[in-house]
Symmetry: C2
């Protein structure tokens, strides 16, 4: 039997001889090139014919016997009877039986999105100031958490998360956000996407309708789509999400996803009458309101509007918070606040659904909050972001005139500049990208029949020294269209 091909070039560079022989023999057996029953030469003979050590052959034979590819008996070694079929490659002979493909719903998660590199560019929205992150105090908290780590921190997280962190978050929300909540109502999540995902699956069933703001936060639609919910877009006006009677009747919601403190992306604040009406209507129709309060910590104009959660007793509201904007996105810690009635069940189901962990980081964060580092950091960042926004506003008014319409300044890390009809925001955004800017078109958050024409300008990670240069390039991107038209 001719087995020269066992060591025929090209040989893989990094693989030892004996593994090459093992791999090639196995491939030959599994592909049917060596048919079941075929007798292989004695190890001594094969070693001699290939001019290699006998042990090299023995290793391969033994491994393949152990795996069940070869059978060894008194007569020697032969190929085991295996249910193999020659591999059919597309284009040669019959086509493969079923092509490898993703599920139909995976399409919801394959929408185009900005390249990751864009997050580092001026005006990229949703990015906090990485440089201002309090590395020293945070790492000191991590150090302490590691020093005391036991099985509770190294194992899976307790239901609802680390008890100390649940306490600390409840305390923070009560003091700073005016939300009188208890630790038992808090479920620690690994960020907002995971929170929305839990809400979609633990509160919604397949075919249920989820209302999304239009324009709105794209990633919420991904979570709902992957959970088999039907997403219904509800327009946002100057007072926030504005459902019509037809929305309520023809598309009764199970979930209503809103960003009432600082609508994403328009930055508008939902009015109190709108909040109260939404709660009443949701309560009547058995819907859950998901209140995403993603960046309300950076509020500057007057007192924060009261959260829907806690506005009315027993309201069907779930409050979503995150440390992505206040600390850093990669931390992957956030939280849900739940009404008492469902808190224990939700925490238990969430624990089984996600098998969360990060016990060390959760403990470090509890420590960070308890020691006052978190509030101090928020205070410092509030001032810093306010200064940045003021500088950006004035640069924009200088470049585009005093009447340019800006919105979204009450809180958060971004401003919206509205463009006059006739200047396409997607075209401006594309030109801005070519000039090295991370600005996004309002239109990319908007679905028909709504139309919005403007630009979302993140300033969280924008050094003040870069603002005037950024606005100069932005003006170029806006005006070069006039040049083209000319």
């Amino acid at each position: 039997m001719e087995l020269d091909w066992l060591l025929a070039p090209p040989l893989p560079e990094t693989m030892p001889r004996q593994r090459v022989i093992y791999h090639r023999l196995r491939e030959a057996i599994l592909s049917g090139r060596l048919v079941p029953g075929t007798r292989l030469p004695a190890s001594r003979d094969l070693a001699a014919s290939l001019k290699i050590a006998r042990n090299t052959v023995l290793f391969a034979y033994e491994q393949l016997v152990a795996e069940g590819c070869l059978l060894a008996d008194r007569q020697g070694t032969r190929v085991a009877p295996l249910p193999v079929r020659p591999v059919v490659r597309p284009g040669r002979g019959e086509a493969p039986v079923a092509p490898l493909q993703l599920s139909a719903r995976a399409a919801a998660a394959l929408q185009p999105e900005p390249a990751r590199e864009a997050a580092a560019l001026p005006f990229a929205p949703g990015v906090p100031d990485y440089g201002a992150f309090p590395f020293r105090s945070w790492r000191a908290c991590l150090e302490r958490a590691w020093r005391d780590a036991g099985w509770r921190q190294l194992g899976y997280a307790a239901h609802g998360g680390d008890p100390g962190l649940r306490e600390a978050v409840a305390g923070h929300l009560t003091t700073v956000r005016g939300l009188p909540v208890e630790a038992a109502q808090i479920v620690i999540t690994s960020g907002t996407q995971s929170a929305l995902d839990l809400c979609a699956r633990l509160l919604g069933d397949h075919g249920d309708t989820a209302w999304a703001e239009n324009p709105g936060y794209f990633a919420a639609r991904v979570a709902f789509g992957l959970a088999g919910l039907r997403v219904h877009d509800v327009p946002v006006d100057t007072e926030g999400m504005s459902p019509s009677e037809d929305d309520w009747r023809a598309h009764p919601p199970r979930l209503i996803m809103i960003t009432p403190s600082h609508q994403y992306p328009t930055g508008r604040v939902m009015s109190l009458p709108r909040r109260l009406a939404l709660i009443e209507r949701a309560r009547e129709s058995g819907a859950w309101i998901i209140e995403d309060d993603y960046d309300s910590e950076f509020r500057r104009a007057g007192p924060a509007p009261p959260a829907l959660f806690g506005l009315r007793p027993d309201a069907p509201v779930i409050y979503v918070g995150t440390f992505s904007k206040t600390l850093y996105p990669g931390l992957r810690l956030g939280y849900l606040v739940l009404p008492q009635a469902i808190a224990a069940d939700f925490a238990r189901a969430a624990a089984q659904a996600t098998r969360a962990g990060q016990g060390i980081e959760q403990r470090a964060l509890a420590d960070f909050i308890r020691r006052g580092y978190y509030t101090a950091h928020l205070r410092r960042m509030r001032t810093r972001y306010a200064a940045r926004q003021a500088a950006l506003r004035s640069a924009l008014r200088q470049a585009f005139g005093p009447c340019v319409e800006l919105s979204g300044g009450e809180a958060g890390l971004h401003l919206v500049i509205w463009l006059p009809q006739g200047i396409s925001d997607t075209e401006v955004a594309a030109r801005a990208a070519a000039l090295g800017l991370g600005v996004r078109a309002l239109g990319s958050y908007t679905r028909a029949p709504m139309t919005c024409n403007g630009l979302v300008l993140g300033y969280g990670n924008l050094e003040e020294g870069m603002i005037s240069e950024g606005v100069r390039r932005l003006a170029l991107a806006v005006h070069s269209r006039d040049n083209q038209a000319a």
Copy 2:
């Protein structure tokens, strides 16, 4: 107007006066106790009548005006017209309109499960040796990762995860597991539950059938149930999952979830003919095989059986690995290995579905693997766990006789001891729990019509000194039934 109740006891201890007035006024307005249009006393008069500083009243009024609860005009301050209805408490008057409740599918995640504390008890399955974790070298890697952290590590993870970690995992799998894979085929996950969850949603659609091993890993059923898949149980025999012709015809699978290297919980190894047949059949029927290789790193009896992934070219197999057993569960890092054909799309969809992060930890882990710490730790743990298993086996044989049937010793962190008919494993497990043991009944992993009667004994976190004492208590739990019967 009588407003004495604004400061009537009991007053919340930790709340400043002005916030009490604000809260009580707001509550009175939102509950309809103060009806729209009601004029409030001038701040000066109210302050005098409550015997407090005028500023305290002014603060509350201003906050409530800002929120839209009050209107201020030349005539003074009055309650705004708001769409409120008095709150109806259950038991008094009409019932609330729709009770707050979870989705129907949430029931899949509300199965009873062992208390978290059980994870710290002797024989708790699935728990690695926390004490042996290489804290020093791991923390050194974390230190280095923090020192070099930039926006890439602090922001959301790149598609598929940190490029360095994908490289390191691919290298490790090629060298140690004999899986020739490339970094582009790796998607870093936040552990096995998240991996199964991604597979369920990105590979399966609502109503599709997912095959689960019976007995099998409970948490996989949670992931499938929450994704709207129909779970079909397929029996496991001594060669692994053993589907019948009827299973294929009446319950054609979209997903086939298996643990072929060390079936969970029986510990059985899927034979090579079974593996090859499963791949062929899955290919024909357009099914995906999910190969969970959760603890194959701790293999001791002979060479590891070849993974289904890579056994045949273009096989519809997704390989799932985790660092939960090899490092610690709370780390929440694992990985999927994907066929080339879908790797890029899957990585992109997974990034949108999860918005992963943990960039610092991912980098630290890549460093940990590259420096050889990971392989060294595996080697050390393999020896340690092997010694523990040997000690456990001999203690079991001593206590239960030489003929007691044990399985699952080829790899992993647990053994199965099979019980004779007539001794109920659930009853033994309950008695063992009362004696402070974390052992689990095989029956709790099994669904009718299959029956399995035995105990799953984890020894990962079991000090050798505790083994004889643990087995002594276990024998008590088994035998006390004889006493009861007598």
